[in-house]
Amino acid sequence: MKTRYCLQDRIFNIVNHTLLAVFLLAVMYPFIYLISCSFSSGDALMTGKVKILPVEPTLLGYKTVFAYGPIWTGYLNSLIYMVSGTIVSVVLTIMASYPLSRDDIKGKKLFMGYFLFTMMFNGGLVPTYLLVKQLHMIDTIWAIILPTALSAYNVIVARTFYRQNIPLELLEASRLDGCDDFRFLLKIVIPLSKPIIAVISLWVAVALWNSYFSALIYLHSEEKYPLQLILRGILIMGSTDLSQSGVDPEIRLRNQYLGEMLKYGTIVVSSLPLMILYPFVQKYFVKGVMIGSVKG
């Protein structure tokens, strides 16, 4: 279709393209700047010389990151919390959402109300904290993964998916073949619901990987800290103790700004897993928004 634009539309298109280009630059610039900084020398950083490209390129920042022990324990802890938390969460979500998607259970409205209410009201920080304390979960992995494991929102999204994508004929046919509900869920529903499992796993995993607050209030031993809490120390509290790390003392003496260089390197290194995974997972995120936007 060849359209001939009138003057107003031509102006619109020019303005539109320009604004979008500005937006694109605004989104990308901080990333480019930080990556360039992470490859620059401490002196260049401290005098604010880096604008777009690395100044006095060096790998020292990254060497410091790799030698800084707490980051890697944090990495491992975060990985453990993320994987186990995601598994617990997805299993619970499926167990709740599949029965609720069926029309043949009684009191469905009541059950739905029971789940929905948790989205609208909560007991708050202190009662939850006291509960976790009562259950003796303080300073354990359970405090991180259990309290937020089951979200009513995810249950509703999954339920909507089942209602739309698991045809009733399938259930009837397998019933005739003597298949009970457990088997039907395991052998037929779960294999058919890979997209929604992917979406929910992704939401939960990213949330677990990115959060720091529950670790801040529930974990006391430093060797259990997730990556975000370590990063908080380095980036926000500025409490980097390089003497405790495995960095060569001689390098430390020669580079007084090593602590600064560490900041830039850690930002890049800790975002790396997401940067690599991002192109593969972003379509699931988009899909999730679409499914979530359908009213339950």
Partner: protein, 323 residues
């Protein structure tokens, strides 16, 4: 769904005759579904409903040894903690900060997401459009801590690329300024999530019948007129639903980010209800659990009421409603 009802129809007749018998039969056929539900229900009872019950310590003089039930009721019919909060000079400040940050966020994020969606909608080069979208979602994935770390680096008055320019022009240190805090918080949030927020409007726009656009073009409508009369009406239902949700959550700001951005210099603008409650219970050297719970309960309660009210208003005005 219709088919099961038809198949069950003979069964439902029997319900009237011998109810107990068919109820047993119902459970015999579906007990596995209830079994599946059991664990999630217990889970919510423990981790969501028990804390709601625990929140009654807001009305008590809580002491940890006496427990929730054993603690004596607070003065003034149990409302002492609330009265103390409303009378505290921090209350007005926290409430004002919370509301302002929320309202500011809503005022900016809605138009921004809609404008981005409309703008992308009129980019005819599909590859360019895809590329912009791909880039625009990316900041959404970085963590709060990294985002705040990036803000601290970029806006540093001496070494930061943006902060040094602002400092040389206006002489203000954005990171340590209370008056700049709301803008810094809101616009960094826009930077992080506008691309993601636009997805839902893009979906609404893709549902618009292309024939409407063609007909309008034939009639000589400009792009601006098509946006005004075709695209905006298509977006409004989605926007209303999102607005309800946002207004309902107006007191629930992402406290993780606020907490990470707080410093002594911006505290007068950055102390919100959640962070204040957190500090009273878990940071202060004399923790006051009951007082903090009262503050949290006030926040949840107002949120619930707001959600119900806004939903009712929206139902009356536009027939859009959450349930």
């Amino acid at each position: 769904m219709q088919t099961t009802r038809d198949m069950d129809a003979p069964g439902t007749e029997k319900v009237n005759i011998r109810k107990s018998n068919s109820l047993a039969k119902h459970f015999k056929g579906t007990w596995q579904l209830y079994t599946l539900l059991l664990l999630p229900i217990i889970f919510l009872a423990v981790f969501n409903y028990y804390p709601m019950y625990g929140a009654i310590i807001a009305f008590k003089n809580y002491n940890i040894r006496a427990g929730i039930l054993g603690s004596p009721w607070a003065d003034n019919f149990g409302l002492a903690n609330f009265i103390r909060f409303f009378g505290n000079y921090n209350f007005i400040e926290c409430l004002r900060n919370t509301l302002w940050i929320s309202v500011y966020t809503i005022l900016v994020s809605f138009p921004c997401a809609i404008i981005l969606a409309l703008s992308l909608n009129y980019i005819l080069n599909v590859r360019y459009k895809k590329a912009v979208q791909l880039v625009s979602y990316f900041p959404y994935f970085i963590s709060t801590i990294i985002l705040v770390g990036m803000i601290n680096i970029l806006f540093n008055t001496k070494t930061g690329a943006i902060g040094s320019i602002i400092y040389s022009i206006t002489g203000t240190n954005v990171l340590a300024s209370a008056s700049a805090f709301p803008s810094l918080y809101v616009w960094s949030g826009i930077w992080q999530s506008v691309g993601f927020n636009a997805i839902i409007y893009m979906a609404a726009l893709s549902g618009v019948d292309m024939q409407l656009h063609e007909a309008a073009t034939v009639d000589g409508a400009t792009i601006m007129q098509r946006i005004r009369h075709i695209d905006l009406p298509a977006i409004i239902p989605t926007a209303v639903i999102l607005l309800i949700l946002n207004v309902g959550g107006i007191l629930n700001i992402g406290y993780e980010k606020v907490l990470a951005m707080q410093n002594p210099n911006n505290l007068s603008a950055s102390e919100i209800i959640s962070t204040y409650a957190y500090k009273i219970a878990l940071v202060s050297s004399i923790p006051d659990f009951a007082y903090s719970t009262a503050i949290g309960l006030f926040q949840s309660g107002v949120g619930l009421v707001l959600l119900l009210v806004v939903n009712r208003i929206s139902k009356g005005l536009t027939s859009e409603s959450l349930w």
